[in-house]
């Protein structure tokens, strides 16, 4: 579970997860443009590549090919353990199950 929480411990990586949850299978170009133009970051393609690699080590994102283009695919399955861990902590009245 450590790799999952490490992967989610950076705001840019959470944005990447949100982006791919909204529309899966985006190219590096598209993700970089969206982080910069839509979310107001100032991030190079190289930095986005590094963040995608961290998400990849956690099993959350994997690269696949469409034709000769690489796209990045979100697989939320590894989040299940993290969700269960969070849910095992008592909930508050403001945050019922």
């Amino acid at each position: 579970m450590d790799p999952i929480f490490q992967a989610l411990a950076h705001p840019a990586r959470r944005l990447l997860v949100e982006e791919l949850a909204d529309r899966n299978d985006q190219t590096l170009f598209e993700l970089t443009v969206r982080l910069n133009q839509v979310h107001g970051l100032a991030m190079t393609r190289q930095a986005v590549t590094k963040h995608l690699a961290v998400l990849g080590e956690a099993g959350l994102v994997r690269a696949t090919t469409q034709g000769r283009t690489t796209v990045h695919h979100l697989d939320p399955a590894p989040l299940t353990a993290a969700r269960q861990w969070l849910d095992a902590i008592p909930h508050t009245p403001e945050d019922p199950r």
Binding site: D22, R23, Q26, T27, E30, T69, T70
Partner: protein, 136 residues
Amino acid sequence: MIITTASIFVDDQAKALDFYTTKLGFQLKTDVPAGPFRWLTVVSPTAPDGVELLLEPSEHPAVRPFKEALVADGIPFNSFGVDDVQAEYEQLTALGVRFVQEPAQMGPVTTAVLDDTCGNLIQIAAMNAPESGTTA
């Protein structure tokens, strides 16, 4: 000084001329022999005296790995302006053009990215109306 020509490296000049005219709707401007190749340019029908797009052969050995790396990361080599990205996307898709990025708002612009079948990705773009703003 004015910009008269912009070039794009194409894997096959004849195939490129077909794609850029019959699919994207540009017009042939110049077609003259240049050694074993052609000096081959197209223009926008709405700007026949505007910037010419030179369909240049991908002959230099550095060109193919360069193009392949751009295509792998989804990076378009050129960007063309359109009035309505969604309408253009639907029209080109009906003509069999393959897109690697469907229309999406990118802050102040809406863009989509297509495959020119000659080793390049091409972006089409339009500025958003001010009220449609910056939401994703």
